[in-house]
Symmetry: D3
Subunit: 186 residues, 6 copies
């Protein structure tokens, strides 16, 4: 089962922040955290009276990085060196199709992955927010381990920028980003 | 956020199989894999026409080991040295309550955790099956890395024994155990 | 030989301070340090004219955590989630008995372990002091590696509290705690 | 100095062979080995009376993977999921240009990198041979550490295939591949 | 406290057997195991009616490698490249003196270290036996992790050769070496 | 091929700065960086109109630590405990001769190693400068990972002292040391 490999794929963003491979978060750990955060976010939205399909949201969180079992974690810093912007997404879709070949629920899972990438549904945007929140949480953990490279500061700022639309859309995300920012800046 | 700690908690069963801490699977990785397997199992059962609530199943998979963020992974080999059998479960429930204190959806999550441990619903039993299947998959990975301790062989046998009721209940589990057994015995 | 496993069992206290498994001290390393500190403490007491049986003290230091080869390192933070306080000690005694089954000097070693846990003899209290001093030394090392989690600060305070009776009883322990505190607070 | 990062970038091929990140060779180690092998190959060719510019060959070996400090190690298995074949090379050239911006000898180094990728000179082909030989040597080391995944066997075969033209061109490469194959197959 | 460093000093013998630094035993772990084995050996000899000073034996086991906190673990394979045989011992004694400068019981500890190296007392020879037995135990553990380099086989043979005089002198050592040999050869 | 071992030999200087073996730079990584820096230094000198044989310089950088595949990295702190100063160099030469036995270009490589150690040519002095500059770069990386031991500060000062003659000889080295010093002191 190739998805087991995700336990061995380091998230390249941390390596570029000067975290050693022995300490770098891997894709399996990250996906677990995104799913965990998604569970809390959906429960909060439900408490606020929003209508949200938590099954779809949590499933998206689990599978959003599965393609990396075939193509590893393409670094953020490499994107600007690509000729066209669709290269990464096309590659990941092709990889995911191969990974899911002959597995139960293949089409449903590909549809969830597309929904995640299209960011058109509330659920998919919530998972994107969870994805970025997880990066902030992990950045704080590396700071607590002593990491103080300027790349870590830059990553923090970039992720906050990426979170901006979700901060606007979801009150709970706004609240969490403020709290995490206070801890990181301490 | 204390659940982040699960990325740092090694699964003690592997340490006792002579896997080094630097290579040992952690609880976050394991939980991701259990959720992933659960997604495939529920999709398969749905294809077979079974009625199953995949939201509850996947959520249980994500949270079934959360308590270990507070009490770490209590080793299988330690169970027989406890005076009474309820000690571990009582401790984990108490830890989970503390972890969820003040979080959204606390009661719902505690109820899911209880459902998982009671093994009375089809969903909870399916997640138990996924939990054990994940151990088999990981054991094969350690074998492929060269691990050949007799503890690994004993763990394999013990897990297959624990899987017996689920092999009977779910055809797909039976099929997967046979396939994995062929690979491990090769 | 199951005691070899202690080289693979991380000390959970450090994991909860955000130290990664690849960097976490293990039980074998810790036991070596406790024995080393015990050697210096007994020599100091002898120089001061105290009567102390260094053989018993050093032997206690070596074996005080042997049970963890069977039950791993039960986390400090898990203690409050146990129903009754004797659970951990009962479990460890049962595990130690199994580990020593058929080995030379079994009864003598169990008696030393009991002496250590009863804290009634000067030797056993000295080893407890060495045990805590070793935690302070290691905490300083993690601080020097950059670890600055609030859990590390809390652990430092808790260990100093646990050291209080030994600071009163042994002048050399008082002196060492002051020195280590100066370094940690720098 | 961004090239220092190459010490932290694992070679993804090994991760996909089930080698853990803590044990995976990184790009700096690999580049050192390619340069080392290149030194022996050029000395051998010179002894055989061939004309070869060892300075250019060794320099190419040192810099052939520098771009990965910006884009990490793009996995072999990801290539087939790309739309067009030039994507990887274009991305790496763009990254290398950025890395060398403002550094002494930029144009000379870019020319060496191009020479390496064009495989038109004897020197560049020799470095390609050294690159592949280094993978065989490292594969043997992983086998000696116990790794026995089928991915490792497949990688071995693929690398031998890639070595075919150099086996034909250089007698010494032919001899070394035979020797390494005997060791791996033992 | 410089002796804490022994937790970070890998035993070079394992590195040369192709064990990665992340998995290599360190000097603190090794010293703990030598002390543990020494405790069992002395208890066994006492049961056999021999007169043995276990305090001195265990203390020697704890301190026999302390000098490596200053000079690291000088590799076995480097010895033959030294001009004269006394170089290593002279260096270690000088380092140990510096480490113990101003510490309680300095002369006593230096005397124990000399006794260990002179191999004239029964206690010192028993610790040498324990030192080698610990290497055999650890070699078995690496074999169980998959290590199968020819260097590991050679190390096994060399250690058995070094154990020969102690096998003759101590019945229990003879018995243990036979048992370990059966496991390793399986 | 024994030189592959250099990937497993940690640089002891970092261990003594409290860097864990899982994070410690190894000799292969270091040699790659020295060769990389040497390439930039020679190109800069050539731009300045100096006559320098870059082939010899880069080759020296690659091979200057090869002997450590046989004798590991002899610690800086151990030097003062040796009887005579020639011990280390004699040992390394003997080891290198054994390693190169029967390899192509043996005499040429031994001559390069001697040239490096004699520090009489411009090329050899430039590689010494690159060797020390690489230590400064890596020290900054450890600082960015959080390491703040006083041993790291002492190492920084010692290396700057060792760099003094090269700072005088080469303008570019002077410039780089100033820049690195500003970063480290920030």
């Amino acid at each position: 089962m190739k998805l087991n490999r995700l336990k061995l794929i380091p998230r390249t963003g941390w390596l570029f922040c000067n975290v050693s491979p022995a300490n770098a978060e891997d894709v399996a750990q990250h996906s677990f955290e995104v799913a965990t955060i998604t569970m809390f976010l959906t429960d909060e939205l439900i408490l606020e009276g929003k209508k949200i399909d938590s099954r779809r949201a949590i499933s998206m969180a689990i599978l959003h990085d599965w393609a990396e079992a075939e193509v590893a974690d393409f670094p953020y810093t490499a994107l600007k060196h690509l000729k066209s912007s669709g290269v990464k997404q096309h590659m990941e879709r092709s990889a995911l199709e191969e990974l899911l070949h002959g597995m139960p629920g293949k089409e449903k899972k590909l549809a969830l992955w597309k929904e995640y990438n299209d960011k058109k549904t509330c659920e998919s945007r919530l998972v994107h927010a969870a994805d970025y929140l997880s990066v902030l949480v992990q950045a704080i953990k590396y700071r607590e381990q002593g990491v103080c490279s300027k790349e870590l500061d830059e990553l923090w700022k970039a992720v906050k920028r990426d979170l901006a639309p979700y901060v606007k859309e979801f009150k709970i995300v706004d609240k969490l980003v403020r709290e995490l920012n206070t801890i990181f800046s301490a």
